[in-house]
Structure formats: structure tokens, C-alpha cells
Symmetry: C2
């Protein structure tokens, strides 16, 4: 063989490899994510940051996610529309915020008297949850994934003790969404007030009670200084946040980066549940010393019973004439019944046993 031919063959081989290397080197993606929360919002915002860091580490920098807080994009409740339109590639928010636009999105955050976090993850990943959620988001050109759980949310801060259904009549309470509708059915006047004004509203008796999240976030707002009764939860037993991904963005990603993104979202969602448990316990640890006025209360049985019936009535109404909502509600109810029968003989029995021993 002539020297020249050898050289050509070598150059050709090198060039081919070069081309594929170039392709690899160019496969770098920077996705823009809009979150509903303000900058450095505890726990919720940490989840988004953690997801982005993991994606970048695992992809060796090929997948970067740039997070814009609500202060930047100015549209905390516009995340759905912005990701749908492709103005942002991703969002971090909560599905029930979109129920005014798409009623069926309500069911993927947490339902009153519904599943706990692990039960609900089991519904998402082993029941029909993920398929049903995707069915709801597909027409809007988006994928939706679990985005982090708060655990059982507390039932709220009350300035007066609730001893019976009577005490709820005309009571003005900050409680949004479907739980507000349930409360309305039993006589409460639910209102929604921006977070920044909640403390003053409660202090000046503009409202009589306020529901927020749990100890870690509630105590920062100072409710314990002006309300003595902290009620246990029923209305959002497992508030799951949401990652949204624009479908066109998703389709552009190679399979390995899709797997990396999906896993980063999944693990940081679980991590938020664990982080919430830690932060809530931490915030609650010194309550007796620091705020001896605060008493933990459960609503009386007749109140729970009335709210439970009201919830059933509202779900029935939501299912009427809405085949998709009906299927989602049915799937959740069936799954809840099955999974709770087991939770009762495992987690509940154990926690009750432990509360008995000294």
C-alpha cells in the first residue's frame, strides 16, 4: 500500500471519530425552570435546587437547569401556562393550583381524608396514579412528575378552641382550595389572604383561624404568638408538589439525559418528604419551653364526621358529568381503602403501641 493511501485511511478514521465526538460535545442542554416560590423558600425551594444539582453532577454538566424564582418571573401561578407555551422548559409548583383551568389537575396534590405520602407514592408508581396524571397533562403538551411532599399538613391555628360543629359557624378562616370548600359545607367562611398579610389578619381578628403547612413553615410566620390552639391535620395528608416538563423539551433530550432528569426529580421528591419530617420535628422540638401556650388539639369527632361527609358530597359532585374526574376519584378511593387497611396494621398500630410504653 502506498504511504498516501495509508494516510488517507487514517485521516478518514480519525475524521469519523471526530464527527461523533463533536456530536457528543454539543449535547449540552440548559433548561429554564420557573418555580412558584420566592427565592430561597425553605424546603420547597431546596428541592428544586437539589434536583438541578443532581442533574448537573450526574450528567457531568451536560444537563443544566437554571431556576427562576417567582421574584424573577413575576408569575407564581403562571407556571402552568409558561411551561405549556414553552416560555419555560420546566416548572416546580403544585398541581391543585391549576384546578381553575383544568379541574382534573386537582387530584394530584393531596385530597382531604386521602392517602398519606407513602400510600400516595405507591398509588403513583404502582397504582394508576402516573398514568392518570399523564392523561390529564398530555393535552397541555407537558409531563408532570411528583415534586416533593410536605407530609401531613397541620389543621391550622385557631384563636378559640373548637368544641363542636357549632363553634365553626361563621368562623373566618384562611384555607384555600378544595379543603376550603369542605369547611364551607360545615359552616366556615373560607378566605384566601396573601402569606405576607396572614399574621396581621389573624392578630386583628380579620380572620379567626389560619391553615398554613406545618411547624417548620408555620412557626416562622409567628402564629404561635397569637393563637393557642394548633389542630391536627385532615385536609392535606400528603401535599405533593409537582415538576412540569414541556413535552418538546423532553423529546429533545437524549435517553440518558431523560433518565437522569427523571431520576433527579424522583429522588428529590422523596428527599423533600424526609427533609420535611426533619425540619418539622426540629421546629417543634422546643415548643413547650418556648411557647407553653400552644396546645395540640384534634377536632371533635362530630366535626370530623361532618367534614368527611361534606368531602364525600363534593367528590360526588366533582365526578358528575366528568368521566375523567370520576375515574381518578374511583382509582384513589379503591387504592386508599386497600393501602390503608395495611397501614392500619403496620404504621398506625406501631405508632400507637409506642405511644403507650413508658
Amino acid at each position: 500500500m502506498k504511504i498516501r493511501s495509508v494516510l488517507s485511511a487514517a485521516v478518514l478514521a480519525v475524521a469519523t471519530t471526530f464527527a461523533s465526538t463533536q456530536t457528543l460535545a454539543q449535547e449540552t442542554f440548559t433548561l429554564r425552570l420557573a418555580e412558584t416560590w420566592g427565592p430561597n423558600f425553605p424546603i420547597f425551594g431546596d428541592t428544586t435546587k437539589r434536583m438541578a444539582e443532581l442533574a448537573e453532577e450526574m450528567s457531568d454538566g451536560r444537563l443544566r437547569i437554571r431556576i427562576d424564582s417567582a421574584n424573577k418571573h413575576k408569575a407564581p401561578l403562571g407556571v402552568f401556562d409558561m411551561v405549556k407555551a414553552g416560555q419555560y422548559d420546566m416548572g416546580h409548583s403544585a398541581s391543585y393550583y391549576w384546578k381553575g383551568k383544568v379541574p382534573e389537575t386537582l387530584f394530584f396534590t393531596s385530597m382531604p381524608f386521602g392517602m398519606t405520602a407513602i400510600e400516595q407514592y405507591a398509588w403513583f408508581y404502582h397504582g394508576d396514579g402516573m398514568d392518570l396524571m399523564q392523561e390529564v397533562y398530555e393535552p397541555h403538551n407537558m409531563l408532570s412528575f411528583p415534586g416533593g411532599n410536605t407530609g401531613v399538613q397541620m389543621g391550622g391555628w385557631f384563636r378559640k378552641e373548637i368544641k363542636s360543629l357549632e363553634d365553626l359557624q361563621g368562623l373566618k378562616m384562611r384555607i384555600p382550595g378544595f379543603a376550603g370548600e369542605v369547611f364551607a359545607e360545615v359552616g366556615v367562611s373560607p378566605t384566601n389572604i396573601p402569606p405576607g398579610e396572614l399574621y396581621t389578619a389573624l392578630e386583628r381578628n380579620t380572620i379567626d383561624a389560619v391553615e398554613w403547612v406545618g411547624p417548620a413553615l408555620d412557626l416562622r410566620l409567628g402564629f404561635q404568638q397569637i393563637a393557642d390552639y394548633y389542630y391536627t391535620g385532615w385536609h392535606e395528608p400528603a401535599t405533593e408538589l409537582q415538576f412540569l416538563v414541556n413535552k418538546n423539551t423532553w423529546d429533545k433530550l437524549p435517553a440518558d439525559l431523560q433518565a437522569i432528569l427523571k431520576t433527579a426529580m424522583r429522588v428529590s421528591a422523596y428527599d423533600m418528604l424526609v427533609h420535611s419530617q426533619h425540619a418539622n420535628a426540629d421546629a417543634w422540638a422546643n415548643i413547650k419551653e418556648e411557647h407553653p401556650n400552644v396546645q395540640i388539639k384534634q377536632f371533635p369527632k362530630d366535626v370530623f364526621q361532618a367534614m368527611y361527609k361534606a368531602n364525600e358530597k363534593l367528590l360526588k359532585e366533582a365526578a358528575e358529568g366528568n368521566e375523567q374526574a370520576a375515574r381518578i376519584i374511583e382509582s384513589q378511593e379503591e387504592y386508599l381503602n386497600k393501602t390503608r387497611a395495611y397501614s392500619d396494621i403496620s404504621t398506625r398500630a406501631y405508632l400507637n403501641t409506642m405511644a403507650e410504653v413508658e
Copy 2:
């Protein structure tokens, strides 16, 4: 510039890129993992498979994990030694299996009257758990990570009802490990019997009771056909399996593959908790129709109280003269007290409320 110079420069540029491409292309790792379980062991084995699949997908095939079940390596309880020696790169097992070799490994699986799964993950990831575990495994040239949780394990199958401490005296029960020692303190004769012989041993009264895992795995072994009383759990409220990684293997991996491996282990550990919830609920769903003989029981309060005291005594003994064990026990007790105070007002209160409404 002469044509020749241009060509040389181009070839040089291509060659340089080629070299770095070669390096990239060579960065493919196949790790060998030994698991304690037999082939296709439900839930536990699914966790290892899922972890391996995720690692391969996310790394685009650069990180492969070849799993050998116990049928292959023939040393189900040799996983610690094999990974330590580098005979295997990784292991999937449970930390408390190594307490005969390294007493302090006992504390990283689940402790009687200890934390639930989410509480324990919070201790690992936000408390001192991961640091303490690494301190214990470091001298053995290994990294240890959470490897999947079973949730609250059931208290076992009994052929006679336990109405008082008296009924436990001389009772022969299959219950291994630290929980067996606790049972021994209150009069039980704990024995260990290979899984394959458990059913026959119980049927022929060689043993009077058997503890295994939970509905999903227990019902497969058929205990419900020969024992009527299924007791709720106290001894392993959150059995966490374990991934082991040989330190030399770990150090050889580039940072992105370390991140991928770490995340694949972390997410599949969480996933196992969710899978366990699903599979247990599923197995339990038809128990009333299929096995109406089975009754769920809780040990009487005096039995729990005696076991609780026995557990405290044994922990005190374990801490004596072992500074490391003492620190781990103290860390767990402090964390449990804090985290449980919050679980009581959130998860426990909610599950009890739900059990009341109709």
C-alpha cells in the same frame, strides 16, 4: 500558509480530540454485585435490579452492574467479607447481619421500638446517621448506603393467642438477632431456622411462633394456613437494607459515575419502601375472604412494657465499654424522641382520625 501546514494543523487538532474521545470511550465500568438473596427474590431483589438498570440508563451504558444472587456466589452471609476483600465491587444485604463481626453494624438496619422508615431516613440524611455508618464501615474499606426499606415488619404468626407475659414463657419462636435477645429477656426461647423449613417447623410444633417480614412475603410461605394470630410489629419498625461499595472501586469511578451510582442507590432504596407498601397492601387485601381464620392482634400492654424495658437494658449493655456504640445509641435515641414528637401530631393523629370516621 502552505497547504501542507494547514493539513498538519488539522490532523493535529483531530488527533488531539481523538485522544480525548478514546479516553471517554474507555471509561466503561462493569461492577460485580453480590446480593444476600436468592434469584428473583421479591421486593429485595427487585431493588437491586432497579438500581442496576437506572445506573446503566443514566450512564448510557458506561456503568454496568452485574448482579450475582446467593445461588451463584453461595455465600449469602459472606457479602461483607467479599466486598471488603474486593472479590465483589458491591453488595446488597442488611447491616445487622454483620454484628457478629463488627458489633456496631447492628444499628443501621432497624432497632426494636425505634424509628419508622421516614424518621430513620431523616436520621440518616439530616441527622448523624450517614456519618456514623461511614465511621463504622471505613476501617473495612467499604462505603455503606441505605438499600431499601420493608416498612414496619409484622410481629409474627402465633398458633396460640398471647394474653399476658405468662403465655410467652418457654414459647419457641423463630426470631433472629437483637429482637430475639429482647424476646429471650421476657421468657421466649428464640431460635433461628432456615426459611425453607419454617412452615414445617411451625406445622409440626417444633416452634410455636414465627416472625418473618410482612404480608407480601409471609403469605407466600403459607403461615396463615396454620396460625390464626398475626401480631402487629414492634421489633423492626423500619428494616433498611444496605448497599455496600468497595472503597477502591468507588475511588476508581469518575465523579459523574459516582453521582449516578449514589443516586441510583438512594432512589431505589426509597422505591423499595413504596413497593413494600404496595405489595403488602395487595397481599393483605383479600385476607378476610381467603383466610377468615386470621386475626390481627397487638401484644397486651404488659408484654410491650416488659419488652420495652428489656430493650433498654440490652442497649445499655451494648453501650457499656463501647464508646462508638454508645454514641450511635445516643444519637438514635435523641433523634427518635424529637422526630416522634412530630410524627405523633402529624401521621399518628391523622391515621387515628381516619380510623374514627365512617
